[in-house]
Amino acid sequence: MKRFVYINDDESSQELYCDNRISNRKYTVLNFLPKNLWEQFSRFMNQYFLLIACLQLWSLITPVNPASTWGPLIFIFAVSASKEAWDDYNRYLSDKKANEKHIWVVRQGIRKHIQAQDIHVGNIVWLRENDEVPCDLVLIGTSDTQGLCYVETAALDGETDLKTRVIPSACMGMDFELLHKIKGVIECPNPDKDIRRFDANLRLFPPFIDNDLCPLTIKNTLLQSCYLRNTEWACGVAVYTGNETKLGMSRGIPEPKLTAMDAMIDKLTGAIFVFQIVVVMVLGIAGNVWKDTEARKQWYVLYPIEGPWYELLVIPLRFELLCSIMIPISIKVSLDLVKSLYAKFIDWDSEMIDQDTGIPSHATNTAISEDLGQVEYILTDKTGTLTENRMIFRRCCISGIFYGNESGDALKDVKLLNAVAGSSPDVVRFLTVMAICNTVIPIKSKTGAILYKAQSQDEDALVNAAARLHMVYVNKNANILEIRFNGSVIQYEVLETLEFTSDRKRMSVVVKDCQNGKIVLLSKGADEAILPYAYAGQQTRALVEAVEQYAQLGLRTLCLAWRELKEDEYQEWSLMFKEASSTLVDREWRIAEVCQRLEHDFEVLGVTAIEDRLQDGVPETIETLRKAGINFWMLTGDKQNTAIQIALSCNFISPEPKGQLLLIDGKTEGEVCRSLERVLLTMRITSSEPKDVAFVVDGWALEIALKHYRKAFTELAILSRTAICCRVTPSQKAQLVELLKSCDYRTLAIGDGGNDVRMIQQADIGVGISGREGLQAARAADYSIGKFRFLKRLILVHGRYSYNRTAFLSQYSFYKSLVICFIQIFFSFISGVSGTSLFNSVSLMAYNVFYTSVPVLVSVLDKDLSEGTVMQHPQILVYCQAGRLLNPSTFAGWFGRSLFHAIVVFVITIHAYAFEKSEMEELSMVALSGCIWLQAFVVALETNS
């Protein structure tokens, strides 16, 4: 199926496609009630309660007033429904805000200001700098003469760098006026959610230039929710609108997360239900037999000789209703209540407020606090999560001279400042590489200050440092770079950019000096990717030393190099590069090979050292949590070396003699397979030794391992307590979470950037760090915290307490209902198995709601051990992880307890009080007060503080 979009045609497509009204709402005013009720009743527990409530309307069988079930039921439903309604109302408000935003759109050849929701497919939309794109557009014009514009796609894919978009060739060079009158047709596929693919054609109608088909790709689009940056204006044709945009299609309502505990409670509820059915059947049969043998003789009961057809059912159904309280209706309410309180405790915790920003921790998902106490695997991002993600240029070594060694900050080193002021050629070249060997885009803000938009924080640090050393990267205009050094402006023309790849471990640019026409290759990269390619005869000893020295300080090093190219050498290579870039088979490999041909005989200029400080308390936090039996995996998009370096410095892995790193690598299936086998073998052998064994895998090998050797890799995942995965993509992160989840592990994913969002959503618990990469991760997460070290408190204090408290509360809820229920059952044996309720409706309701549910809420403040003790002995968490406090056997304990207590209460009530003289209401009150006192005693006994 295709869709044909007629550009600038006000009539034709209005009816065909939806308008640009965005709707994230689940309900409308009309369908709210039926839809919400339907959703609520799709849960087994609610169906059960509804059935019971309906049965109670039949007065022949109901033991108590129907209100005693209908009241709580309606209350519960009202509470959940109003919560849903409130959420939906908020979604409606935010939709409304987006829908009513004013946008410039061409109508009848004139630009008009209309609301975003009135955009139709085929309309031409005009955007200014920093505008948010309201729907999916095909770009047809920009302020840039070359037809380029820049967009920030963070909201879409989480990448914060700027991306270039280009207008299709057919629209090239059209002027401002013409863009209002343009007519044509775009043939594009039906809406889908693939944000990397857009296979379409554009054909402009005659007065406009050629009417050939012009192919369109994702490069020609502006997608909804992106921001236009660094471009004065742009305009485009709306092709997908409203909920049919790429973003709209990929927006799914995330599945509500269910905690392990909820699952266990559901299971136990099922068991109780089965027990109840058995009891009902036994008592029902016994009741019918007793009725036929005994009750018919009892003239005072006056049984009719011929009963109605349903007579046999009456007694079993009565018992069903009598036993229905076995599954306490209050459990859902009290659990919801305490869970929201746990969440509030997290919000309130003054020890988890980020002192730098004053941002408190926040629990977005209020329902999963117990899971925090049961975490077995933590998957953490590196940059920004473990580290501060604040790259600072600290030291450098330029042609053998160390700068910044004394003060720890090269920017303040007088020697370097003097060298800069004296325009020492080595230093100038070094700074030039720092400033322009990158993909940074400088943006001039209104105040005249220059902001850099960099793909990587390292480049950002280098460019900023160069600027502070008076080598300011001022402007990038298409291929012309402008730098200003000590007041003079130098222009370079970028000829080629040899992008960074993880194989080459370096990136280069080929630039032409506009002043003297010299062509230069500028490179920067890891030491092992630069130093071996230095020209013969260069003394690299000092550089190697520098690299080692810096690495030991935990600094990230980059070597900068440079080579002058001859005109013909470049021309020759340039042809090869173009050819390689346009090959269809093995393009990446071909390009790498061609790059190798240029990147040799470097004159290595020096080494930079960049610091990415670890956040406070990271090593301690990791150590404590590992003592608590939690396994750590580091998933990072960063290089292997940096990852290992950071891992070492934050106790993630132990250095050589104690720990061992196993590498899984390889480019082909076979290599990966062999390496995986080898690692697995070592792992099996060492699993008994008290040795820290960790495996390291990179994204490429991971891809192959996950695709072809899933079983082996799963085994490895189970065996190893620590893993480092570098160069992984967001989707691979999510896959790893999925893998661990499939082995029945409770996973917690923590991250700070947009690339962690998928993993955070996938994991059982997602924790977002509200850091420098924006709030995206924090918004998608279940919990957001300010610093990594709060994780310790989140898990050990909040998670553990929540688990303990819920374990008690849920089992207690069953216990107290069972006690009452058992007493009812015992009473039925002395009341002719006729289904008489010993307790009246009011007492039952008061018992469930007032006497037992309210006092037990005190247990949300219960602490079995003090916070300090738990922090000092994190091993105690094992009890929660293994679910020792809520499982079938503890539940059986509570079950036995309730049976025993019911017997005690019943026997004492009957015998100690009045005995033969006892009367129904007296007995019921005595039994009830007995139960209430016993409950209070149990709560007091089980409460630890």
Binding site: Q298, W299, Y300, F345, I830, L861, F915, K917
Partner: protein, 319 residues
């Protein structure tokens, strides 16, 4: 100290702040062996005397229980007791001799006891209308009274199975040819008489139908004064139960013989129930019931034993 510091300092003191930080003061008992032993000893020392006192009170109560349901059926009718009891033409008079073993101090309570009688059966318990008992015929919604709701299309007051099956044996007590004074007033709860049974509600259309259940009521006496009915309408919880009939307000000496003349009207023969007559004195604790005392003694002595065992264990394996 700056202002904000001061504010923060004050904040940390409020109960709400402590609550939000989960730091409300709490006490946490540590169960050391000494504490455990003390607690058990304490329980033992409380419960054993308590049990002994209550046991003594219960033992001081004197009770005479006499079953009369079989003996009160004349010899020839014993084969078919049901037809005997249902035949109105046969007089139901019967005499019993009760021997007093010990001195019984007034007031002596007279109970009738029924065994194997399920007043707690669901059909039975529900079959009454409290509103009608209080308001009489003004109250129409008596569907709960089924199957004894209407007779000849007129409402029955009091309706329902419970009232319909009213116990109707009567007793008179004679000692040495003089009739003992039996007080039949104030045998029902005062609250029932005052608030549950109407002062202006008179029985009507009661026991008029084809099916006659138990006793009849004097239609000229309001329900609030029909104390036998009120007592009967307090349904019993157990299938064998005693209900108060009256009080003898004279002391009975040891070896006195009391002649009981009774009307054996009530049918318990069809379902094999027993009827008993009970005379009982009372103590400060009520009637005769050893269970509570025994239970207390049991709990007390077991905690004492536990305390001793723990003490020995503690001394032996001292840390």
């Amino acid at each position: 100290m700056t202002d904000t510091d001061r504010v923060r300092h004050r904040d940390t003191k409020t109960a709400f702040y402590l609550f939000t930080q989960q730091k409300l003061p709490a006490c946490k008992p540590v169960l050391t062996p000494a504490w455990v032993i003390t607690i058990f000893l304490f329980t033992g020392f409380i419960f054993i005397p308590l049990g002994l006192v209550t046991l003594r009170a219960s033992r001081s109560v004197i009770e005479i229980v006499e079953r009369y349901d079989t003996e009160c059926v004349p010899e020839p009718f014993r084969i078919d007791k049901v037809s005997y009891i249902q035949d109105d033409s046969i007089p139901k008079n019967c005499s019993l001799f009760l021997k007093v073993h010990k001195y019984m101090k007034a007031p002596i309570y007279i109970y009738y006891q029924l065994d194997n009688y399920y007043q707690n059966h669901r059909r039975y318990v529900k079959s009454r209308s409290d509103q009608q008992l209080l308001n009489g015929q003004k109250y129409q919604a008596t569907s709960s009274c089924q199957p004894v709701e209407f007779n000849n299309a007129r409402p029955i007051v009091p309706c329902g199975l419970i009232a319909w099956s009213l116990f109707n044996d009567t007793f008179t007590f004679i000692r040495e040819r003089a009739e003992l004074k039996v007080n039949r007033k104030n045998i029902a709860w005062k609250s029932d008489r005052d608030h549950k049974f109407g002062k202006n509600v008179y029985p009507s259309n009661f026991q008029n139908g084809t099916l006659i259940g138990g006793g009849k009521l004097n239609p000229r006496i309001p329900l609030s004064d029909q104390e036998d009915l009120i007592v009967w309408m307090r349904t019993s919880a157990l299938p064998s139960f005693r209900k108060l009939y009256g009080r003898i307000e004279e002391d009975l000496d040891a070896d006195d013989v009391v002649l009981v003349q009774l009307m054996n009207n009530y049918n318990t023969y069809s379902f094999g129930g027993k009827k008993k007559l009970v005379l009982s004195t009372s103590s400060w604790l009520g009637g005769k019931n050893d269970f509570f005392g025994l239970a207390c003694v049991f709990v007390g002595s077991s905690s004492l034993i536990l305390a001793i065992v723990f003490m020995l264990l503690h001394l032996k394996f001292q840390r």
